[in-house]
């Protein structure tokens, strides 16, 4: 028990907790200024996220893709690369999964894993292209990944519209049931439970564990981190810096691609001809930053991010707070978490005070 108290009073965990609290407090002020009741609003938010099993399940569904894209961005960060392309890698992962899911007929124990694998591979290749261009041609990965995002969007729209389209619809055909990783049918039949849960959440947690193993337990990870901290020293030590850049972007892409694949196989069962990005890749940047690029951090940040975005409509529904104000509230929570420097400063003021009193 003492350990638990210590864990939460340790500065590393105190800061994010304080940051969330400060963000909520600031959000409350904004709501009061707008004439809304923050207590009811926050209660509605909480109720929307944890209030019943259905919504709780849907929150988990919302969190899952964020873990994948967060890991993707964090992995590249660890190697000193800024992967803005998780969005495109996510879309490519979806495309890979939907191609396998719709075009092949296989037993389920091969079909679903194969669709996930191909999705991961598509995402990985998409990231790897940016890595290759950086390593061999010196093109900055921020530029290439942004461009690749758009290419992936229109490329997948083209493939779906011309080869996979369900007639008269704005999306692909349904994937075969053997490729589905959704738990919905089973849960729905057994318990009448309708949240769109799927195996992808488990895969996300495994991915976070693999993230840890690769970076901290393998030779490859040692090299990736070394290159991230100091490419000159890595070169001196005999590591192939360029190959590591490609590998890092490939592995980062695999994480995002996995996210795209499980979103298709677990939630939609088809891919839409999308006008814009789903936004998980960009949210992944924030998640990685808030999570300090560690696997546990990414999971926690995804939970925060996912809960806030999923719970936001609850504030509108429950307390009548307009969506614009809700966005201010959510943004301020994230702002305080991201700008942990401010929180550290406020905490230091507390400490100084304590010292003076003593």
């Amino acid at each position: 028990m003492n350990k638990l108290v210590k864990l939460f009073t340790k500065e590393s965990s105190l800061i994010p907790l304080m940051a969330i609290l400060l963000g909520l407090l600031f959000g409350a002020l904004v709501m009061i200024m707008g004439g809304y009741n923050p207590i009811i609003a926050y209660a509605s938010l909480f109720k929307k996220v944890f209030g019943d099993l259905y919504n709780f399940g849907e929150t988990i569904r919302q969190i899952t893709p964020l873990i994948f894209t967060g890991l993707s961005v964090a992995f590249a960060f660890r190697t000193g690369l800024f992967n803005i392309g998780a969005e495109g890698q996510f879309v490519m992962g979806s495309l890979g999964a939907v191609i396998i899911g719709t075009q092949l007929s296989l037993p389920w124990y091969i079909h679903a894993p194969l669709a996930i694998l191909v999705g991961a591979l598509f995402g990985g290749i998409w990231g790897g292209i940016a890595g290759y261009l950086k390593a061999k041609r010196g093109v900055h990965e921020v530029i290439t990944t942004i461009m690749l995002n758009w290419i992936s969007l229109y490329f997948s729209n083209y493939i779906i519209a011309n080869y996979l389209r369900e007639p008269g619809q704005q999306h692909s055909e349904m994937i075969k049931p053997t490729a589905s990783i959704s738990l919905l049918n089973w849960l729905s039949e057994a318990f009448g439970y309708n949240a769109r849960l799927h195996w992808g959440t488990i895969i996300a947690l495994i991915a976070a564990f693999i993230f840890f193993i690769i970076l901290w337990k393998t030779k490859q990870g040692y090299e990736l981190r070394a290159v991230g901290f100091n490419p000159h020293a890595s070169e001196y030590a005999g590591m192939n810096v360029n190959r590591n850049i490609i590998n890092a972007m490939f592995i980062g892409g695999v994480f995002a691609g996995l996210g795209g694949a499980v979103e298709i196989l677990g939630v939609f069962n088809y891919q839409t001809i999308a006008a814009g990005f789903p936004g998980y890749g960009f949210d992944g940047i924030a998640v990685a930053l808030i999570g300090a690029n560690t696997p546990v951090g990414v999971i926690l940040a995804s939970i925060l991010f996912g809960s806030l975005t999923y719970g936001a409509p609850g504030m509108k529904f429950g307390a009548g707070v307009p969506i614009e104000v809700i966005r201010v509230v959510i943004a301020s929570v994230i702002f305080f978490v991201a700008a942990s420097g401010i929180v550290t400063y406020i905490l230091s003021l507390f400490k100084r005070k304590k010292k003076e009193v003593l």
């Binding site: 193993i213 901290w216 337990k217 393998t218 030779k219 990870g221 040692y222 981190r225 070394a226 901290f229 100091n230 000159h232 020293a233 890595s234 070169e235 001196y236 030590a237 005999g238 590591m239 192939n240």
Partner: protein
């Protein structure tokens, strides 16, 4: 001068604490008008802290500062400037693509209406430069002038702001022997014009040659304050380190064997097509230290990069024990038996954000010795690191400390431990003691000689002529990407080496020495 009790700076009982240490413990320190006063101490002794207090960057917890015998409070560097205190930093603070004049007036530009009066500024700068013999071209761009010249621009900057008391922070660390001599002349010109100089250094030789008085600091306290004429290098060294220090390296006669490294006719161009290595050839035998002497930028770095595989040669061959290793990968070359202590330990030698343990296996992390079930085994890695730490006396709280947290000397020891432990056939040591204090230098020199005595080939590159002279069994002088002569250290002088380094071939045809 003895009777002159006109103190321009007097610091009384200065105490400055940082969390965990007392950087300055009741330090008292006086500088007479018109003298060069050296502040001597090892790295971390508290010299820089004291000068930062004087320059207004730190506020002391206790003590007083008197400037020209009036008590003052120096709350920030602007106050210091107003009091006539100027600092010539070790790392220059210059805008690379501005001219000399623009850099000097930056922050206190002479105005003509709303416009900057360049004519006026240029005139002032030229006048100052002539008065003190600085010979600076006011219109040259910083990026086009040598390091020595840049330092003079820093000096001019302080003079332009009306400084009477100049603090020089390790000014010779970046200079060639010739430039050091010229700097000494400049300092003399300055004191002749009634300026006072505080010289922060850990080089005894410079103090003996340049300074009038010296204050020695050890672990935050003043050990002694002396007139240079009343002391000698041995006394200063033992006061600085706190024990007897041996100068010059004691070593047996070398017994060189077969060639380990042969460099034959190597050419390297940079991307603009400028020849950096111009057909350089040399060899290093087992059981000898070959020192390469030369002014910075004559191809030393490129030579090492080619030998270690960090850079491709455009022509020529590198042989290790007769095997061709030209343009192979760094990994191939280290595995073939080459160890390399890089010249820039922060850029190449260490990954500062890795732990000491991780740094100790930078080139060997993939060995089966450090794996269990194909995963890295940190227990094994750390055991290995602990062994090296003990063997090489690396002072670190633990193997899990980040390399960043270690002092420069201990970082260098860690690198040497790692490189020597690989039991190489060829050990390349590039500027192995740069920026280190006497104690660490002594340790590293002993280790290099020890490797030689074990029959290894050692290739030493250093900009410090003293170091080259005292360690090497043979000296190769590099100039503009070529070896211009090979001399026996016992038969040469610093002057002769200096001339060769400046491009003059050895008189008695040393090129045919081999």
């Amino acid at each position: 001068m003895m009777n002159d009790i006109n103190y321009v700076v007097e610091m009384r009982n200065i105490t400055k604490r940082f969390p965990g240490i007392i950087a300055n413990d009741h330090i008292s320190f006086k500088v007479r008008k018109g003298e060069i006063h050296a502040l001597l101490g090892e790295n971390g002794a508290g010299k820089s802290t004291l000068m930062n207090v004087l320059f207004g960057l730190y506020q002391p917890e206790e003590g007083q500062i008197l400037i020209n015998e009036k008590e003052v409070k120096i709350t920030d560097p602007n106050v210091a400037n107003d009091l006539g205190i100027g600092m010539v930093h070790q790392h220059f603070m210059l805008v690379e693509n501005f001219t000399v004049t623009e850099n000097i007036i930056l922050g206190s530009e002479p105005k003509k209406g709303l416009k900057i009066n360049y004519q006026e500024a240029r005139k002032t700068v030229t006048a100052l430069s002539e008065k003190y013999g600085l010979k600076v071209n006011p219109d040259a761009k910083i990026e086009d002038i040598s390091v020595g010249m840049q330092q003079r621009v820093e000096i001019l900057k302080t003079l332009y702001r009306g400084a009477d008391i100049l603090i020089f922070d390790e000014p010779t660390a970046v200079l060639t022997p010739q430039e050091i001599l010229e700097l000494a002349d400049i300092m003399n010109n300055l004191v002749n014009e009634e300026k006072s100089i505080i010289l922060i250094t850990h080089k005894l030789k410079e103090i003996m040659e340049i300074a009038n008085s010296v204050t020695i600091i050890r672990r935050g306290r003043v050990i002694d304050s002396l007139l240079v004429q009343d002391t000698n290098p041995d006394e200063l060294a033992s006061k600085m380190v706190g024990r007897e220090v041996t100068f010059g390296v004691e070593k047996k006669e070398a017994s060189p064997g077969n060639n380990i490294l042969e460099v034959a006719n190597i050419f390297v161009k940079d991307y603009r097509g400028v020849q950096l290595l111009n057909g350089i050839s040399l060899e290093v035998k087992e059981g000898e230290i070959l020192g390469i002497a030369g002014v910075d930028g004559n191809g030393q770095s490129e030579l090492i990069d080619v030998i270690t595989g960090l850079r491709n040669a455009d022509g020529g061959k590198v042989l290790l024990k007769g095997n061709d290793i030209t343009n192979h990968t760094p990994r191939y070359i280290t595995e073939a038996g080459v160890s390399h202590i890089p010249e820039d330990r922060h850029k190449r030698g260490l990954i500062l954000d890795f732990t000491v343990g991780e740094n100790m296996v930078m080139e060997t992390y993939f060995y089966p010795d450090y794996q269990t079930n194909h995963l890295l085994d940190y227990q094994k890695i750390n055991q290995h690191a602990e062994k090296l730490i003990e063997e090489f006396d690396v002072r670190t709280p633990s193997v899990n400390t980040l390399a960043r947290a270690l002092s420069g000397g201990n970082q260098q020891k860690a690198i040497i431990a790692r490189e020597v432990d690989k039991d190489p056939d060829l050990l390349i040591a590039a500027q192995p003691t740069r920026g280190l204090d006497v104690g660490a230098i002594e340790f590293i020199h002993r280790r290099l000689v020890e490797q030689r005595d074990k029959g290894k080939a050692v290739l030493l590159i250093s900009l410090e002529v003293d170091e080259i002279l005292s360690l090497s069994d043979r000296i190769a002088v590099i100039y503009e990407g070529q070896i211009v002569g090979i001399v026996n250290p016992k038969e040469t002088t610093e002057q002769e080496l200096g001339l060769m380094m400046a491009g003059a071939a050895k008189q008695e045809g040393a090129i045919h020495h081999e």
